[in-house]
């Protein structure tokens, strides 16, 4: 694996990165190759246009939100470290190892994944999904023939089911309670094997 080592040496602070995110050296190298292939102009940073060039991502109904999530801290470029840190959320969780409760929540736990998804809804970052934000997401996910009234009805129903404290918005705690077990485990396995 000579090429692995040579690539690893190109990345600054790679040890710390691996420790923080839990990726193996092989994974880091794969991600670096991918980063470089996306970074067409070789600036060492990715901009939204670079993400937009990925065809299938552009066809994704929430593609622009996902891209937005990479640029969450208000910057308009993303370097390799932030790239890897965000992707670390989707590394499959090691369920067999008993977790040491004193350590902070691992980056790729189920909770972190859910928090990430929550942030996709909650664009104004007030910690709640308001009805308008929910409607917005619904619009992107639904096809064009659904009328506005139908969308509102669906949004109402969604809030009604999850909203426990009756504030007409979904907080993260309420979001967590929605049973989503199957999806996460299935998709963990998919993202894991590369």
């Amino acid at each position: 694996m000579g090429s692995t080592n040579s690539t690893l040496s190109k990345i600054p602070n790679v040890e710390e990165l691996m420790r923080e995110t839990g990726f193996s050296p092989a994974h880091i190298v794969r991600l670096y190759d991918r980063f470089e292939s996306l970074d067409k102009e070789k600036t060492g940073h990715l901009r939204p246009e670079d993400f937009g060039a990925i065809n299938r991502l552009a066809m994704n109904p929430i593609g622009d939100r996902i891209i937005g999530a990479f640029f969450s801290s208000g910057q308009d470029t993303v370097d390799f470290h932030s790239f890897v840190r965000i992707l670390a959320h989707f590394r499959p969780a090691e369920n067999n190892r008993p977790r040491d409760p004193s350590l902070p929540e691992p980056v790729n736990s189920r909770i972190s994944k859910l928090k990430f998804a929550f942030q996709l809804y909650d664009l104004d970052k007030d910690g709640k999904i308001s009805r308008a934000e929910l409607l917005q997401v619904l619009r992107s996910m639904m096809e064009m023939q659904v009328t506005e009234e139908q969308l509102e009805s669906i949004a109402d129903r969604t809030i009604q089911e999850a909203d426990l404290d009756r504030d007409d918005a979904i907080s993260f705690e309420e979001f967590r309670k929605v049973p989503l077990g199957d999806t996460l485990t299935l998709t963990q396995q998919r993202v894991a094997s590369k």
Partner: protein
């Protein structure tokens, strides 16, 4: 042979026929019909006469089909019975009854299912139906595993059962001494094969998860290649005076040849069918006919060339499906689907009824040793085969085949009418009757015992079933969001490996095949045109289905049941189809409601119309400005 009268209707005054003098009457009929209206003088003019022999053949066929369909109807109306007994069992019982009645009336064996009729007329519709509605993505994702089970599993079963049976015959050489090793191998090659018809009909009743369903079903389809070759191989070995090692090697090559040959024939006809459908815009009414004709032609061609007909027809269906669906109108597509369902249903019902009828035979040869050992060996070898193969394949697969799944795969290996027909085709030899009896016993055992107990056993083992409880609305939406999110992340990361070839194929498909095979107007062109086409298509569809208008008055009102239903309907129809979402499994009795999602790309809303803002930006500028303030406009 009933003569064909020149008169258009069966009751013609010149024909005098009675029930008893069948032949004399038809002879009389032909005589007088040659002379036109001339009557024989001593016969009085009959106002009403019955001429059964004139219409005998089609009449009896229709009666059988009618019986089959009424039995099926009756079955579904019979209260709790469908829950306990699978349909196939009941149909066989009806067949047994009818066979018994015919035997009692005629005191001779009732008509048996002729192998030709089965292979040429009854089997193709079922396999075509299965192939057309095959969940493509799931099938190809699991193709390696399916092939592994089909080829290696069948070989394991055949050799194991054959050799062990020979051992049994040697042990019981008093009664079974004249059954040679080759005969045993021949028998095991036809009894080891899992039958798609039986599997389908039983798995309909139990709802296991899609992956398991596709594994068992795919295996039953693909092992036809191996079965056909082995059967023909052993048959030709039996005719040879001496079998050498070279012959065995050639046999091995033939397996490959038959499978690939069937594949090739199917591909060829599939592509030609797709091309033909491109030009059917001006004669839309006959467009569905081409689908059936080409598929059937592929089946017949490969049967003619001694290739695997089942593989040919399945490949043909899978190949032409996406292009044909793009080329034909909605109505033609619906007709194709309905006709396929109808024909395959009728075929399946007929097969099971005839299985029952054919059981009533004049001469059955019975041998406890042979029959019992066959049953035991079938179960044993299948179980060990599945366990061993799964142990190997689990190391390579992502979604592991659990122990419970293995049990279902092993236990769900039902035998059906294919074995039955094949056993009739064996060259005659002293113990042929024994083979026939044993085959019937094995089929009845697997269909009845295994078919009826599989459902309670599934419940006992709590196999991961398809989610029967309707998910709540939030669950659906949130899980769909997560699906999209994860698909997006996969795209960011550049998901290589298993999907690499799929992506390559998709590119090839888009660039060359679609352009060649899909009609000009239906190809995805500029975005505006695409949007317009999509709207047009939806208008077409909206004429047929009425989307219930949900009427919202105030937010906190509890939702009525009808509204929940309509909400669910809206969700299932309209949520963007997610790339890897598991499609509802193939269902024999219903057409699932999703429009052909795989062929049509989802409406591209982000790239189209300039690409900077999604179409909704005109509707809610405020919310979108939040989104776009932090992102520079990208193309």
């Amino acid at each position: 042979v009933p003569s064909l009268s020149p008169f258009p209707f069966p009751f013609s005054p010149s024909m005098v026929a009675t029930w008893m003098d069948g032949e004399k009457a038809s002879g009389l009929g032909s005589n007088s019909s040659k002379g036109g209206l001339s009557l024989d003088v001593p016969m009085a003019l009959r106002v009403f006469s019955v001429d059964y022999y004139h219409v005998q053949a089609p009449f009896e066929i229709v009666l059988w089909i009618m019986l089959a369909s009424l039995a099926k109807l009756g079955f579904h109306w019979s209260g709790r019975l469908p829950a306990v007994v699978p349909e196939s069992c009941l149909l066989i019982m009806v067949g047994l009854l009818v066979g018994g009645v015919i035997y009692g009336v005629r005191h001779s064996a009732p008509p048996t299912l002729s192998a030709d009729a089965f292979f040429l007329f009854l089997l193709p519709p079922i396999v075509l139906d299965a192939g057309y509605f095959l969940p493509g993505k799931l099938f190809f994702e699991n193709l390696g595993t399916i092939l592994w089970y089909a080829v290696l599993g069948t070989l394991w079963n055949v050799l194991g059962i054959g050799v062990c049976l020979y051992g049994v015959c040697l042990l019981a050489s008093g009664s079974l001494g004249d059954v040679s090793l080759l005969h045993c191998l021949l028998f095991s090659s036809l009894i080891a094969a899992v039958d798609p018809v039986a599997v389908l009909s039983v798995f309909q009743e139990i709802h296991v998860n899609e992956q398991l369903h596709i594994l068992v079903f795919g295996e039953s389809l693909l092992n036809d290649a191996v079965t056909v070759v082995l059967y023909k191989l052993f048959e030709s070995f039996l005719r040879l005076p001496v079998v050498t090692g070279v012959d065995v090697l050639l046999g091995g090559c033939r397996v490959l040849g038959v499978g690939l040959g069937g594949l090739g024939v199917g591909l060829f006809f599939g592509l030609v069918a797709a091309l033909t459908s491109r030009f059917t815009s001006r004669a839309q009414v006959i467009a569905p006919l081409f689908v059936f004709l080409y598929s059937y032609l592929s089946y017949l061609t490969s049967e003619m060339l001694h290739l695997s007909g089942i593989m040919a027809i399945v490949t043909c269906a899978v190949t032409m499906k996406q292009y044909v669906e793009a080329n034909l109108s909605e109505r033609s597509n619906t007709s194709i689907q309905y006709f396929l369902k109808m024909w395959s249903s009728v075929s399946e019902t007929l097969i099971f009824i005839f299985l029952g009828v054919s059981t009533i035979q004049d001469v059955h040869m019975w041998s406890w040793a042979f029959v019992c050992s066959t049953l035991l060996l079938c179960l044993l070898w299948r179980a060990t085969g599945v366990i061993l193969l799964t142990a190997v394949v689990n190391k390579v697969r992502r979604n592991v085949v659990t122990f419970r799944d293995q049990f279902i795969i092993a236990y769900g290996g039902l035998r059906g009418a294919i074995c039955f027909s094949l056993v009739f085709l064996i060259d005659d030899f002293p113990k042929k009757r024994l083979f026939i009896t044993t085959t019937i016993v094995v089929i009845l055992f697997t269909v009845f015992v295994q078919g009826m107990t599989i459902k309670p056993l599934v419940e006992l083992l709590e196999v991961k079933r398809r989610k029967r409880n309707l998910p709540t609305v939030s669950e659906e939406i949130h899980s769909r969001l997560l699906d999209h999110l994860l698909a997006g992340i996969e795209d960011v990361v550049g998901y290589w490996g298993q999907h690499y070839w799929k992506d390559k194929f998709e590119q090839f498909n888009q660039r060359y095949l679609c352009r060649f095979l899909i009609r000009e107007e239906r190809q995805a062109r500029s975005s505006i045109v695409r949007v317009y086409q999509e709207l047009e298509r939806r208008d077409e569809r909206a004429d047929e289905e009425h989307i219930t208008h949900v009427d919202v008055r105030c937010q906190t009102r509890p939702h009525l049941l009808e509204e929940m239903d309509s909400i669910r309907r809206i969700l299932t129809r309209n949520l963007h189809s997610f790339n890897n979402k598991q499609i509802p499994a193939y269902s024999r009795h219903t057409l699932h409601g999703t429009p052909a999602a795989e062929g049509r790309k989802p409406l591209r809303r982000h790239q189209s119309l300039g690409g900077k803002h999604s179409p909704w930006s005109q509707v809610t500028p405020t919310v979108h400005s939040i989104t776009h303030s932090s992102i520079q406009p990208y193309s």
